[in-house]
Symmetry: C2
Subunit: 328 residues, 2 copies
Amino acid sequence: MKIVVDAMGGDYAPQAVIEGVILALKEFDVDIILVGIEDRIKEELAKYEYPKERLEIVHASEVVDMHDAAITPVRKKRDSSITVGTNLIKNKKADAFISAGNTGAMVAASTLLLGMMPGVERPAIGIVYPTLKGFSFLIDVGANTEPKPEHLLQSGLMAKVYVREVLGVSNPSVGLLNIGEESSKGGGFAKDAFKLMEEKIENFTGNVEANEVFTGKADCIISDGFVGNIVIKVSEGLMESMSKLLKREIKKSPMAILGVTFMLPTLNRVKKVADYSEYGGAPLLGVNGLVMISHGRSSPKAIKNAIRATIKEIEHNIIEVMEKEIKK
Amino acid sequence: MKIVVDAMGGDYAPQAVIEGVILALKEFDVDIILVGIEDRIKEELAKYEYPKERLEIVHASEVVDMHDAAITPVRKKRDSSITVGTNLIKNKKADAFISAGNTGAMVAASTLLLGMMPGVERPAIGIVYPTLKGFSFLIDVGANTEPKPEHLLQSGLMAKVYVREVLGVSNPSVGLLNIGEESSKGGGFAKDAFKLMEEKIENFTGNVEANEVFTGKADCIISDGFVGNIVIKVSEGLMESMSKLLKREIKKSPMAILGVTFMLPTLNRVKKVADYSEYGGAPLLGVNGLVMISHGRSSPKAIKNAIRATIKEIEHNIIEVMEKEIKK
């Protein structure tokens, strides 16, 4: 089993990425290809002890940055780590590709270079996130911002397979993110998607309102990419703002500072539950290859966990299983 | 100045509504009409001392409940508190109408009975919410789930007037909620709305990503009603889930319980900042009359604060001012 990791992707690349890869090499039985600027990669690797026979470097002279247009890896920077990494899996030199780089560029490169898997018309990005009951899977969080109802159905079918095979939930429930519970809610798009999903998805549990996203009401929550992106970003932003507000207020009171010190072990436990990096990267589903997009701010632990999730994807042959599920 | 309040609207009606009205009568120089089932209203009022000459009851025999279709007050329950209340302002018997009842029914009754104000094609619901810098105004949070770009422009122009006149912010900034900062982000709808707003709204500051909703990046944030509804509900849900998770973990540790007691004054201060009820109800803008929709779970304080905001709307003649702004 061989996984390509983009050494140049993410806000803390290549340091955080390479540290994460080293952690993964020690913990998992996997071979890794690091793709990116060879000298930079070697410089970082020199800091670590690791099983050298399981790590390979493939040089890519260019880097797609966060401001580059989505089409860049295909049109302009054809020797970028994203392009070279994607082609490695296209040409069967490896089983999967992970990058914490430019999301739009990853979606475009995967879609155009790998093509779509049979039965799926558009790519969709899913994320695993914590809920009161454990975790759920939200898809799409930004690959396809103007989908058709059929694309949501396809996302629903893929999500079910992902959550069953990779997260180990048996017969996952699937809900449609909407602005009301009744099937009559939302505009024409939402109603059409509801009908399709009701008809074709086993264990479809109907609409899920946004205030139920974190309660664990459904194992898979299906949304268009615009709304899904808003959901994850508003959640991220709210947590950050609340934490800033709390810190600002706590600083004003010595009693509160004392109180926080007593609470630290508990707060750290809560933080661990709420920490996205515990749950690995975000799989790009629908393309004809295993692609994982990690958060731009990925820590070494997040990279390691993305590798862990990718190993499960490979072990469970998820593209083949999704294909069968969609053909049914 | 006379404000109609729907005694039967909201999860805790009529108790919470009437308690809020009593608080308002004591605090503000305003006359109130309570509309609803007269006997129930009188029974509640009997609990309080209040300036009787400033409170009137108008009987309405029916109640629109949360499960009724939006069209109910216009088609079926024509003697409901929503219908009677709306007609009171239509017939100039009062200056404004506040209800914590069925949002869809309030939007339909207002739109159909009052009609739209000149220059505005669709209604939009705004809410004032707390940010790290103070507060912002998000519009639309659910009245119009499939708007055209022009409707977003109209919401932007109305929002600017509302925030200036009612919240006292001079030259409020206006941002478009989108999934990226650049003007090229989002689908065709978002791009068209961006262009219109850039051209016609003074102090338009461009796209606001969802993770900036709570930082106070713009005074007014414009969105379609579907996405805006998702934003407020996901925020509500996340806060509730985080608070449940925290409580669950705190209970496991005596140290953490002790810590929380030291922090209580600080936590209450933060809670006050984050409490929507501090900021009054949600104005329904665009209709030809002053209509305020309060949260279904409105507390007496929330009702009182909705009355406070409505008084400002009346004092500042906001419909006339919005009309001028849109004609420009």
